[in-house]
């Protein structure tokens, strides 16, 4: 591939200087082999504009920090190769989440709140006995739980979700996937009805309008459509059966 000159159009806003209105700023950079947006953004910051704000942690697509709109589509910047993009690249912060500055958004507080609302932990009355052998679990079930547990809370599904963009209290695909994870885990002793009280609402599973952008864009390729269907089925059943 011939070497390209890339043009980045990047959203800029620093809340410490509100007198400077939000704007798009253009930068140019020579593309290098295997360049990712992680490499590109760091080069822009170190060589051109040290005030540029963005988030990376693992830079290996396991931590979920670097979700952003890449040419309008939510994704992880660290694993996005520039060679897969046109030579004009537009970067915007994820919608729905509170802006910290430039491309950086506050996913931490949002997800903490979500996990509090969903009570996303194992509910059990059993005390831990440090002397006892572990309880057994079928490996296939462990893998099924892991499949949902793989979500990295990057926020891409939330940013891509029409409902989440319209109503602030919608738990979104990440939340429903989290609930699916606890529904299939026998260690969690909540009854479906108890879960229904948490997500059997318009803020929960019945708020989904089925556009399925979440499933299309999930950077971890979690089968969100299936997880959503599972929760919906169980909640419909719990709703019919009642307590």
């Amino acid at each position: 591939m011939a070497e390209r000159l890339l043009t980045f159009s990047i959203f800029r806003y620093n809340p410490a200087t509100p007198e400077i209105a939000p704007r798009m700023q253009e930068f140019q950079l020579d593309e290098t082999p295997n360049m990712t947006l992680f490499i590109a953004l760091n080069r822009l910051r170190e060589e051109q504009d040290p005030s540029l704000m963005f988030d990376f942690v693992c830079r290996a697509a396991v931590c979920g920090s670097c979700g952003m709109l890449i040419n309008g589509r939510p994704g992880l910047a660290c694993k996005t190769l520039t060679q897969d993009l046109p030579d004009r690249i537009t970067l915007m912060p994820l919608p729905v989440f509170k802006l910290v500055g430039d491309l950086s958004v506050d996913t931490g507080v949002w997800f903490r709140q979500l996990n509090e609302n969903l009570e996303a932990w194992i509910h059990t009355d059993k005390d831990f006995d440090p002397k006892a052998q572990e309880e057994r679990m079928d490996n296939a079930l462990a893998q099924e739980i892991y499949e949902a547990e793989r979500c990295i809370e990057c926020g891409s599904c939330i940013a891509a979700c029409a409902t989440a963009n319209m109503r602030a209290d919608f738990v979104g695909a990440a939340g429903l996937n989290r609930i699916a994870r606890f529904l299939i885990d026998p260690r969690d002793e909540r009854s479906p009805w108890q879960v229904f009280e948490v997500v059997g609402t318009d803020e929960g599973v019945f708020g989904c309008i089925g556009l399925m952008a979440c499933d299309d864009i999930c950077p971890m390729e979690i089968p969100l459509q299936q997880q959503l269907a599972l929760v919906r089925r169980k909640m419909a059943w719990a709703g019919l059966k009642g307590k």
Partner: protein, 602 residues
Amino acid sequence: MKWSEAHLSDVLVIGAGLAGERVAIEAASRGHTVTILSLVPPRRSHSTAAQGGMQASLGNVAMGYGDNPDIHFEDTVKGSDWGCDQEVARLFVELAPVAVRQMAQWGVPWSRVVPGKRTLPDGVEVEELPEKAGLIAQRQFGGTAKWRTCFASDGTGHVLQYAMDSVVVKLGITVHDRAEAIALIHDGKECYGAVVLSLRTGELRPYLAKATVIATGGYGRMYGVSTNAVINEGTGMAIALDTGVVPLGNMEAVQFHPTGIVPAGILVTEGCRGDGGYLLDKNLHRFMPDYEPVKKEVASRDVVSRWMVHHMRKGYGVESPYGPHLWLDLRHLGEAHICTNLREVFTICANFLGINCVQELIPVRPTQHYSMGGVRTNIHGEAVGLTRLYAAGEAACWDLHGFNRLGGNSLAETIVAGMVVGEKVAEFVQEAPLTFPFSVVEDHLAAQAARIESLRRRASGSENVYELRKKMEETLLEHVGIFRTGEGLQQAVTTLQELYQRSQDLRLRSSGLGPNPELFSALRLPGMLRLALCIAQGALLRTESRGSHYREDYPKRDDVNWLKRTLATWPPGASMPHIDYEPVKITELPPGDRGYGTMPIK
């Protein structure tokens, strides 16, 4: 300076990875108020990146039958090259199974034993027994006599961190993310908390507590190529060193992981080799059996890394635009295995190399990975030098790992140390009053505010933070890496001293206002350079080879002179660390042969 915004709690935990959160849970569940500070949301901590697993001698799988804490102890001490504290190692191996099982109760979907026969890649046939079905499964890791590493598919760190954080959420523990402790508040005897910088706004705020715990992980990012996350800049160790009274232990002990991918430096798990992956050279020759006929690819990390670099130096590396590398071959493990137990490896290869590792070879070379050194503590996690200060996990030198850490002992350490230290912290704050001398707090706040103000004013200075930082990274990688010489180390010390002087003269190019990344880097850099000098100076003085510290001019371990731990402190205003030593505690296993890594390198 905003006294009105001072934040109070019984316990202040700096760092929200596995170690920090485990300490916090222990203290909170005993009724104390706990605040956790974190650079990023806790679930983004570097702990989540651990793919491989957590060692605990459960003895659940065929290749692990008969395992017990004694064997785990022996492996750990040998792995450390007799540099560890044996009292700590003993406590650790006894508690590791408890930690793994408690994590199961908290929701970790550990991979489980599936009964039946299977043939390992080297032709050995094993049979998992029906009576073990459904117990926690274990895989092989380097330097262990038994298969002991518990794992959850390919994402052990991720599931541990999420399960741990779910307990933090359940207990309602306060977490302030995007917050960085930039100085400890202390009077040279007691620690009262920390001066904390909001990475959201750039504002300062004092956090005061009865006990302060440093659990900030390692400093991998000081090296030019590292498997570490970009937040691993050693900030916790740096603020401890800055007190002038708290020593850092064994900072010269820096571990390289054999399989960082080239060029990105992203780690592919030791499970690759544990599960039967081979290392190949440019002729596609499997060279490790030539050097380590018994342990082959699963000797300990220091040994495998050294042979890899040695083999490349002999001209067997694969040439690439990024320098020579070797190959990791997983192809014979088959798609089913790779895409479940090593799926993370599969995706990393696809995303960052554009290759399919079911069919293609993975370019790898040893990459900076772990710091055995850290804030020196006793067995209870109490920092040496200051009361009311504690440390746990990679940020601490507890000292479980000595001069080389075994794979799978890091995740286990974070949780076990978290349990032990958390209990001690809880006991301490139960009795201790929340007191602090007003003027000490005010002085520390004022000093940090002045640093920030002078950087923001751009009053003087000419140095560029990113330039100096790059030079530091290159210096450490070149001279303080896998193979070390007196000459190279001396050069590193000289260069780092010069960089340290220059770092006193930084000038921002941006305004430094708000959540400004250049300001934050500028505040960190001098501390990082002080750490770098502790590493390089400790390595220069240690004229022997032990574990990961390998001196080409002193290739033998020297127990007569060097069976001791390095302690580095930074006196106020000094330009170099003060280096001291203390004996290593040997209780059960006198120094001997590790059983691998004995063949001379020439």
